[in-house]
């Protein structure tokens, strides 16, 4: 489900800015590192983990906003290849910067003490923390959906995803909107990293792996489609699990084959809409 | 020459072109007029196979060409220009027209001989008649808007068409450029014995050269006939004049 968080950010940026953000995986990694750092300072006990996770995500969100405001903005209207190249360069720089700051050794964050137990359901054991993440995914999805549907900013974002030209004509401050979209998307990526840190090791290189996974999710669900991303994340998880159960050797193969199949049959994804 | 029968196209429930029918006689100069959003460009795109129609037929020289893709259609003697200038911006003027010759004459799959001098004479001759010969070496995207429009005409003519479909050939031109272009089109059409179908917003242009006019409004044909007849008709059909 955490993959949904990351993919949602990727999808959001694509939906509004029409850019595939290669650095998004790096935002996810930075979220994990920032959380680790905050945990080092504050510890995880007494509910502090939530503060650190939120803090980590906010740091990344701020970084995303700054990058958009001072660098990325200057590339609008240029060939999308250059925008892509920029995000790629950004990924290289940021991940190496993380390496300089935190070294090459992996970092490990403990699970918050509130959620160290596990739930026994039909013989399967689901740790509370995983359960929390599983429930959090849809909750955040719902929250975002409400924001997109009910608030003014949400309406602008949806409008921007559909038709960018008219938006400026409506008197919307497009610049600010784009910045906020970037902030929001980076926040989601950072949050994904922050929340995954107790389950996995935080290490350099976790960004390149996750970005491809996120691409797969977004493509399956539909670039720029919100619920599509949600669906894509679910499908991705299922295909991977069943793949491991039945064809352990070729489960990653199955995932990419699915991605290719979706692109061939419905290039705009299961729940997306064709780009004009 | 060209018959259009009952063409209909809708996008997400919005009917852009509705049961449109008209004929273009051989060697005629015909125009389609109508306000913005009347469906002129959509109609063109349907005729040339860019868009797939929901219903209806397009018949060219007695042959059903409905849904034939553009690259095949232009081998059947159909040339076309676009409303928004549509050229190969980073190629030179010479290369633009030459490419059209190469493609049209089926040499495009030759992957091993140099292209540079292929159809050189034809290309230069055509540029000459378009009064672009002295700018052959310039990069097309740097030409003035009017010259780009003329070049686009050249791209269409290189296909040696029988019928030429021009979508707003004078869009965005100054009055003098418009006049020049119209004269050029008129002259070329005569010289080459072309059939001409064009859309236009400038009524003066339309009535000065068109022999037959089809009026389109909200996707429907509301008048069809000689300029005089349409002019007479225009009043009581109540077509909005504000835009023209």
């Amino acid at each position: 489900m955490f993959l949904f968080l990351i993919a949602a950010g990727l999808s959001l940026i694509f939906g509004v800015l029409r850019v595939l953000n290669f650095a998004h995986g790096t935002f996810y990694m930075l979220g994990a590192y920032a959380t680790y750092q905050l945990v080092q300072w504050m510890g995880v006990s007494g509910g502090r983990f939530w503060l650190t996770a939120l803090g980590g995500a906010l740091v990344v969100a701020a970084l995303g906003g700054l990058i958009e405001r001072f660098l990325f903005r200057r590339l609008y209207g240029k060939d999308e290849l250059y925008q892509l190249l920029f995000t790629y360069a950004l990924a290289l720089i940021l991940s190496d910067a993380a390496k300089m700051l935190w070294g090459t050794q992996q970092k490990s964050v403990s699970r918050p003490p509130e959620l160290t137990g596990a739930l026994h359901v039909f013989g399967a054991i689901i740790p509370h923390y995983n359960l929390f993440i599983i429930l959090l995914g849809p909750a955040i999805a719902l929250a975002f959906w409400v924001v997109l549907q009910r608030t003014r900013v949400g309406r602008y974002i949806r409008a921007a995803a559909l038709d960018r030209e008219t938006l400026g004509a409506l008197g919307v401050n497009v610049d600010a909107l784009y910045t906020w979209v970037f902030v929001l998307a980076s926040f989601l990526g950072g949050l994904g990293g922050a929340l995954i840190s107790p389950m996995r090791a935080t290490t350099p290189g976790m960004d390149t792996e996750v970005i491809v996974e996120a691409f797969v999710v977004v493509v399956i669900g539909g670039l720029g489609s919100f619920w599509g991303t949600f669906l894509g994340a679910l499908i991705y998880g299922q295909v991977l699990s069943f793949g491991i159960l039945f064809f352990p050797r070729f489960s990653i193969f199955a995932v990419f084959a699915l991605m290719a199949a979706v692109l061939i049959v419905r290039p705009w994804g299961l729940l997306g809409r064709p780009l004009r | 020459m060209l018959e259009v029968r009952d063409l209909t196209k809708s996008f997400d429930g919005f009917v852009a072109v509705s049961r449109v029918s008209f004929d273009v006689p051989k060697h005629s100069v015909s125009a389609i007029i109508g306000p913005n959003g009347a469906g002129k460009t959509t109609l063109f795109n349907l005729i040339t196979g860019h868009l797939r129609c929901d219903t209806g037929r397009v018949v060219l020289n007695g042959r059903d060409v409905t849904g034939v893709p553009p690259h095949d259609l232009c081998r059947m003697g159909v040339g076309r220009s676009f409303q928004r200038t549509n050229i190969f911006a980073k190629l030179t003027v010479y290369e633009n027209v030459q490419a059209a010759f190469v493609s049209h004459r089926g040499r495009g799959w030759n992957a091993f001989t140099p292209v540079r001098d292929l159809y050189r004479d034809e290309t230069l001759r055509l540029l000459e008649s378009l009064r672009l010969a002295d700018r052959a070496g310039e990069v097309a995207g740097f030409l003035s808007h009017g010259a780009q429009k003329q070049l686009e005409l050249g791209l269409a003519l290189a296909l040696e068409p029988d019928i030429l479909l021009l979508d707003e050939p004078t869009a965005g031109m100054s009055a003098s450029e418009t006049r020049e272009t119209i004269q050029l089109i008129d002259r070329l059409a005569r010289e080459r014995g072309l059939t001409l179908l064009f859309t236009e917003h400038d009524m003066e242009v339309v009535f000065s050269i068109a022999q037959k006019i089809t009026v389109l409004h909200q996707g429907r044909v509301i008048a069809d006939g000689s300029p005089a007849a349409v002019r007479a008709d225009g009043g009581h059909v109540g077509a909005p004049h504000d835009d023209w």
């Binding site: 050794q105 596990a118 995983n130 107790p198 389950m199 290189g205 792996e209 699990s241 352990p248 050797r249 | -």
Partner: protein
């Protein structure tokens, strides 16, 4: 266009400054080793161990009156990268010898480079049998690491004593994982035929999410699990396994080879370590069997400025020790002579005397095994009791 081309060519030419020639001519040793990512948990200390040895021997005047110089490169635990780095070390840095590589994908790949360039290559960590298998063996490759056969069989001996019948395995899908699992399964079936292998999972090397594998495995209801998930990957795996209660379900009938019980693994996991499992390690600072070992640990502790120094340093140390002794014995840095000197060479290492066999260029390197417990003396789990399993009877 041409001006730009010219500019770039000039720029490139300017960058191609030839490396400066060394006047003192130290003996250069190239060390491709993973220094980033989860494998760095092992690779970095191993490099440090080699560096400490080099410092120590240089302080005593070096070898044959020449200093040793260690050039390390990050091989990223990737066979392609390791080959690339090894070739650059040979061609660009003109190293005389290669000591290094960590994974069993890197080892055999670099071995080929060594063979082609006729340069002695000592592998201190890769365990795959393929490295010194008869068809792959060549005069220049040597190993001071344990092997998959030794490790798998040692683990099988331990598991055979457990009251379990249904055993499952979890290993990475590459040379080391496959070989050690095969050795384990074959030996276990031989010494305890009643055992049934109920499930085998093969995540890809570097897997981050083990949950699908753990779930699939636990569905088969094993009573014991043999894992060869190593390095930083074990941290991730056991964290996820612990979260779903796997170790409790197995009643801690779990053995983690691939050095799951090293002090540094235990240390980096702290309270998250699944205390009670069995594991192994090349070394442990708390072992302290001999005077030589105690002295080594004290020196290492000072060198690394770490109260609980890493167990992996020993492999880098031993690798360099063998090379230095062989150069001394050969009285030459000529690769052919050093290679010959290494055959049958016995070296007094901090973990006792080790000998490289002539037959397969393999040292009789065993490992420490034990059940992990919490010890009030340390803030993390240790193996107790800890036993050095002599590999001699498992080597063929």
């Amino acid at each position: 266009m041409h001006r730009r081309t010219l500019l770039v060519v000039l720029l490139a030419a300017a960058l191609l400054v030839p490396p400066a020639a060394d006047a003192q001519k130290p003996i250069k040793v190239g060390m491709p080793m993973p220094l980033s990512g989860p494998p760095a948990l092992f690779g970095e200390p191993a490099t440090k161990g080699a560096m400490m040895f080099v410092e120590e021997i240089n302080a005593r005047g070096g070898v044959l009156g020449r200093k040793l110089e260690l050039i390390t490169r990050d091989s990223k635990a990737d066979a392609n990268e390791a080959v690339r780095q090894a070739r650059e070390l040979i061609l660009k840095d003109n190293v005389d010898f290669l000591v290094g590589t960590l994974t069993s994908a890197e080892g055999p790949a670099v071995s080929v480079v060594a063979k082609e360039n006729k340069i002695v290559f000592i592998a201190p960590i890769p365990k795959t049998d393929q490295l010194t298998a008869p068809d792959k063996l060549h005069p220049y490759v040597f190993r001071v690491a344990s092997t998959t056969t030794i490790e798998g069989r040692s683990a099988a001996e331990i598991v055979a004593k457990w009251p379990v019948k249904r055993v499952a395995t979890m290993s990475f899908d590459y040379a080391y994982g496959q070989d050690v699992t095969k050795a384990f399964v074959e030996h276990l079936k031989k010494i305890k035929p009643s055992v049934e292998i109920v499930d085998q999972q093969w995540p890809k090397l570097g897997e981050q999410d083990y949950n699908p594998f753990i779930n699939a495995q636990m569905a088969k209801k094993p009573e014991a699990v043999f894992s060869s998930i190593w390095g930083g990957f074990f941290v991730t795996y056991s964290k996820q396994a612990r979260a779903v209660g796997m170790f409790d379900a197995l009643k801690y009938h779990f053995i983690g080879v691939g050095e799951a019980a090293t002090p540094e693994t235990a240390k980096s996991m702290g309270a998250d370590y699944p205390v009670g499992i069995w594991g192994n390690s090349y070394d442990a600072f708390y072992w302290g069997e001999t005077q030589a070992h105690r002295s080594y640990v004290a020196r290492l502790s000072r060198y690394l400025k770490d109260e609980y120094p890493s167990s992996w340093a020993i492999q880098g140390y031993i690798g360099m020790q063998f090379l230095a002794e062989a150069i001394k014995k050969a009285e030459s840095t000529d690769s052919d002579k050093v290679a010959k000197a290494l055959l049958g060479l016995t070296v007094e290492t901090p973990v006792g005397p080790l000998t490289i066999r002539e037959k397969d260029h393999q040292a009789n390197r065993g490992q420490l095994y034990g059940k992990t417990v919490m010890d009030p003396k340390y803030p993390f789990a240790i193996m107790k009791p800890v036993t050095y399993v002599d590999p001699t009877k498992f080597m063929d």
